[in-house]
């Protein structure tokens, strides 16, 4: 469903991502682990059609992100660390806006928005401006926004950044639920516990290069360390 094929991205003299290749199948959760500046966000942005790869390709359902960006976006739910909510729209208005941008007419958008309000428990604050919501509430609106068009692939860039335990928990549930419904999920994070809890497979990225890949247990076993955090440190140091 999600595929990186020898993708490289260069900013001037800096090669941010080098020859990245990986795939995520439907019903699979893939965690991209890496230090700050390792190239995780750049890779995910290439997949989300926000950046154009310097070479190679990123694909969703066989559609190339650089050549057929609109087809890719139709099949993509993207959640950035910044959440991306309009402060002066209510949660309901925001969902309706993105439903319409995703091609639904008013007749289709209205019931879908109500479905989202119900599914993510937004009822209490659905008519409040997003700028007035708490962080946890904003996060729920943000997830609802990302899946309002029911995309088969989800790209989550550090989805729990800055969230408390309760709010993070809602993200975990959402990811687990998406896997259950056959969605392909790729997310970037610094949190090893999240990876161990959620990811079917893990990719460790260092200096723009994918330096290790496998299940969390595989990676720990391969390095001979006791846990994923130490295994990660070892792999990143060896790659440097």
């Amino acid at each position: 469903m999600i595929e990186f094929d020898r993708l490289s991205k260069r900013y001037g003299d800096l090669l941010a991502v080098r020859e990245l290749s990986l795939t995520v199948r439907g019903g699979e959760v893939y965690a991209l682990l890496g230090a700050n500046g390792a190239g995780k966000t750049t890779a995910l942005r290439c997949l989300a059609t926000l950046l154009r790869p310097t070479s190679g390709a990123a694909r969703i359902a066989g559609f190339d992100a650089a050549r057929e960006p609109l087809e890719v976006r139709r099949r993509l739910g993207f959640l950035a660390a910044s959440m991306g909510l309009y402060q002066r729209l209510t949660a309901r208005e925001l969902l309706r806006y993105f439903a319409r941008l995703n091609g639904m007419d008013d007749d289709a958008a209205a019931p879908r928005v109500e479905e989202m309000v119900e599914a993510f428990g937004l009822g209490e604050f659905a008519d409040r401006l997003c700028g007035k919501l708490s962080t946890g509430q904003r996060q729920r609106v943000s997830i609802a926004r990302a899946v309002v068009h029911d995309p088969p692939a989800l790209v989550l860039d550090e989805p729990t950044l800055g969230l408390d335990v309760l709010s993070s928990e809602s993200i975990f549930r959402f990811i687990a639920d998406a896997r259950g419904r056959g969605r392909a999920v790729i997310f970037s994070t610094h949190q090893m516990s999240e990876v161990e809890l959620l990811a079917d497979r893990v990719g460790i990225i260092a200096g723009g290069r994918l330096v290790a890949e496998g299940t969390a247990d595989d990676i720990v076993a391969r390095t001979g360390e006791h846990n994923l955090a130490r295994a990660f440190l070892r792999i990143v140091r060896e790659a440097a």
Partner: protein, 702 residues
Amino acid sequence: MNLRLVVTVLAKELRETLRDRRTLFMMIVIPTLLYPGLMVVLEQLTLFGQRRLAQQPAAVAVRGADPALAAFLRRDTALRVLPPESASMAAVRRRHAEAAIVVGASAPETTVATAAIAGTDSVRVLYDPSYERSQRAHDVAAGALRAWNDSLLAQRLSARGLPPDFARPLAVADSSVATAQETGAYALGRFLPVLLILMTLLGAFYPAIDLAAGEKERGTLETLLTAPVPAGEIVAGKFAAVALIGMAAAAANLLSMLLTFQSGVFKFARAAHVQFTLPWSTALLVMVGLIPLAVLFSALFLGIAVRSQSFKEAQNALTPVQLASTLPILVTMLPGIEFNAALAAVPVVGIAMMFRELMGGSARLVPSLVAFGTTIVYAGLALHFAARAFGREDVLFGGGASTAPRGGWRERTAAWRAGPRRVPLPAEAFVFVAAIALLYFHAGTALQARFGERGLLYSEWGLLFVPAVALVLIGPFDARRTLALRRPSARGLAGALLVALGGIPLGWALGWAQVQALHLEMPKEMVGALQKLVTATDLPRFLWLLLLVAVTPAFCEEAVFRGVLFQSLAREQRMWRTVALTALVFGAFHLSGETAIRFLPTAWIGVLMGIVVWRTRSIFASMLMHFVNNGMAVVVVSLPALRRLALSDAGEPDWLLVAAAPLALAAGLWLLPRRTPLPDDVVPEPDSREAAEEAGRVEEAR
């Protein structure tokens, strides 16, 4: 274009904007309440001040007046007569007296004019025009003296048995043929266009920043761009929102102003028999004219705002643009400016002039159409500028990872000097050119004022050549690349020469056409000074002039423009962008207050020199052209016979020469070699699909 998506984006942007207090304040509160309110308060304050002034008698010192005049002045209740000691310049300056009447300049006591004695006395009224009370005291004193003068004259005429109107052969009275409405329309036409355009600018300012840079800063643009909506639809929706808001602000302002004026609240208008009304048909036409202007501002602002990374950065970038857009409209307030087709084509000014004429009730069709049409073209260009930015990732997310050095200025300088680049970055080159232009403007002018022709020599070498060479030597640059020090081929030089010989008469024709179209005239003193500068009377003078006017600029100006600036812009391998930008800066560098007409011909030669340097990669080719161009001026002006062949006395070029020029130009361009790629040319980032694919193929081949 998918209109449904455009309308979706537009509706959302309008909804959000209307919930933004700052924008609403700028759109509704300021135009509808604040400005009219301020104007009424201002008028009331002025009237109050005038009334207060009028209630107190003016303190006027009197010296040298005969008893009759002194008694007359004392009887005037608007005056408080002060003793003669205060009737001096010093006393008025120190404000001991508001004004002073001094009768008889030299010997006051002996030259007093009376009713009986024929003759004229000199009377001076001393006052301080920078002090309001003194001004008013002057008016009161002058009025009293006029009354005394009339009374003396009447007595003299009566004593000689003459009728009172004997010394008044003409009774002149003004009578305006304009109606109160027409006078009002004229007055409105002077200031309302400025206000209207200003409000459109202000109305579009914040929404443009908020919808572009603000959205980037809040991280919502990233989310929006992952929705299946083409960038064009997003830009169109956003831009339509900004344009509508700008127009709504202008409309609210226009309506509020007209209603305020028409309410008759202004006493000064009633007193001057002026009626401020604007027919609805005119108001409608003005609003139609405002559409392309609002489009222009909105697209321009949006294009700039989206290139900024934050609200604050956008505000900083837009403020000078807003100022630059505002200043030209002041032209409409100047007297004696004709609304012709050439002026109509000037951005913003054309529409402003059209508004002025419309409000005055006499907009001519052709210039109005030109103003409208050209503004639509400018708006289209601005829209293209905005749309391009939305498709560029470096604009949306900045230039990627920053490698800017940190630390104090020593560390930064060291890091700058250790940088790997062989030619300056465009930003470095622009900062450099701006700095030396400023230096040239101030220090160069001073040098030329002090040392005359030698000052010109000093400023060219000292303020242009030396800094350019110093930059290259001090900075981390390759002198050969930055100054394009490459030996041209004989074919390249021949091509450059022919391009110059063909381009020069065309430059003359361009200058001439410009003067004719804009009805401009070179100031006589300047023409005289220029002619004197380049006219050689003997051989040594001729050689000196060649050194001063032709050789020196060929080295010094070329080092700066086709050297540092051109080569830095050429990094990105975009020929026309490099040539055009350098020519514009080169033309602008030759601007001064009275020589705006030199801009186009200079920029034209700049374009030709740019093309030649692009193709030959050699600054020596453009030095040759610069030398020929300037040297030609010396030769043509110094040799009257040659001058008559080339130009008429009025500066009109010989049209046969102009007709033949394109042949030489074409031959020169044909002769020029193709630009040879160098192994270390900077390859631009691929910003198009083709480029990305090409890069992909290259990677695969490896």
